[in-house]
Amino acid sequence: MHEGWEYVVATYGLITLTLVIWFWMILAKLARHRPRQLDD
Amino acid sequence: MNGLRIAWTIAMHDVSRELRRPVAVSAVLLFGVSSLVVLRLALAGGGKPGDAVLAGALWVVLVFAALLGTARAWATEREDGAFDALLSAPASRSAVHLGKVLSALILTLALHAVLVTMYLGLFGAPPSLGGVATLAAAVALADVGFAVVGVLVAGLGLRARGRDLLGPAMFLPLVIPLVIAAVTCSLAAWDTADASVPQLLLFLALYDLTFLVAGLAAFPELAVE
């Protein structure tokens, strides 16, 4: 294992976590405000 | 030419009101003077602080004094409900904005002249006459930027609820480039930085011009009929 691997793992983990939470929040918001009838 | 005359009339109107009843000036001046006294006492321990610390302290006081002074740019119009009347006046809205910038500039210059003089008395003046001139030029050019940005953000937050913290939140990030250049200029005035003063002053002028144009273009867009 290279020196400094913890920092790299922390970085990629942080980014993954943030993106997952962000996606989840948007999808929840989209679902909450689903239009009654889908037009076209 | 007509627009400039309107701007001048608005500026003189504000200035003469402040001369009659110095509501804003007295409060900001008291703030600035107390800050300098607090700084003098806070920095008293451990011998004379370095020039870089002192230059930074000066600009912290100047930035906050300018912030408080310009935040009140539209205060009387708002309290009198005259803002929308001012916007719908036949005068061009850019002229109105320019007038407010001028009055804010005169106010800020006057306040800063007192504060800088007091600072020099408390902490010591630059070693050479050229240094004093450099400092004066930096403060004057920075004040144009403070006035221009301050009036612009005060206009943006005019209809806002809870304005107290909105002003600083918008003003401070916008003046970061200005402060960086002005502090460097002050360090050059005390001969602690081998900086090119003309280049820095040119940058300050460029900053002023950018936000002056931005303000003149943006202010008419704020009006909602």
Partner: protein, 251 residues
């Protein structure tokens, strides 16, 4: 899946479906290439002739593309702010807001990953001498105030106009900050940090390019998702049907 991949309110020139597919392919590809293809950078040799590896440089392949994505989002915020002032259509306001919002999410990641990288590379959590980071911090603080401005104004045209103007001001702030830092920095203390550009080899550039493309696509996709979600919420779709719907005024 239809609304996620193709927000129906979108008239984007770039297909949302394309952006989504590109993001879902290129972002994981960038991570794989970072660890499997791009060689680990070296710092130099130790006294005893051993190679010193710079494993932390792996952060570069994702940190810098996310910074570009953040700039892209802020630019979208400013551009749509301008379009709002010109056309006065509510969806431009929402697009501009989405741009700033997404830019702040990416921006937070940029500052945090930049801080981790600084700790790994230089042993400090924040390197004030790093110009790009300073310019970014200034812009981040500036757009942070956008939310304070927006949420202290009553919804309506006055708020939309003030927000749009504020979003556009960021365009002036970036070059001015960069110039100020450059002028002050080179004169006070010459640059000691080397840029990464001069020690990147072919596979490193390739990985970086995939990352930039992937996060640009991700930014565009997120912008469109945010816009759709905010537009739906504004128009009062969904559960709380009683809530007064803000009328969308289409000029």
């Amino acid at each position: 899946m239809q609304p996620v991949f193709a927000p129906r309110t979108s008239r984007a020139r770039i297909s949302p479906r394309l952006a989504a597919i590109l993001a879902l392919v290129l972002v994981p590809a960038c991570v794989l290439l970072t660890f499997l293809w791009a060689p680990t950078a070296t710092i130099g040799l130790t006294g005893s002739g051993e190679t010193q590896w710079d494993f932390a440089q792996k952060i570069f392949y994702i940190h810098v593309p996310i910074a570009f994505a953040a700039y892209l989002c802020f630019a979208a915020g400013a551009w749509n702010g301008l379009l709002y002032l010109l056309k006065e259509r509510d969806d431009y306001d929402i697009r501009s807001y989405s741009g700033v919002h997404s830019g702040m999410v990416f921006g937070t990641l940029v500052l945090m990953t930049g801080s981790i990288w600084a700790k790994a590379a230089w042993g400090v959590w924040w390197q004030w001498g790093d110009r790009q980071l300073l310019v970014f911090l200034t812009l981040y603080l500036f757009y942070g105030a956008y939310f304070i401005l927006r949420f202290s104004l009553e919804p309506g045209r006055a708020r939309n106009r003030a927000s749009a103007i504020y979003a556009i001001l960021g365009v002036a702030l970036v070059p001015l900050s960069f110039l100020a830092i450059r002028i002050a920095d080179t004169l006070i203390h010459p640059i000691v940090l080397t840029s990464d550009g001069d020690r990147l080899t072919g596979p490193m550039w390739g990985t970086f390019a995939v990352g930039v493309a992937g996060f640009a696509a991700l930014a565009i996709w997120m912008l469109q998702l945010e816009t759709t979600a905010k537009l739906r919420a504004m128009r009062g779709y969904g559960a709380d049907e009683e809530a007064p719907a803000v009328e969308a005024s289409h000029a």
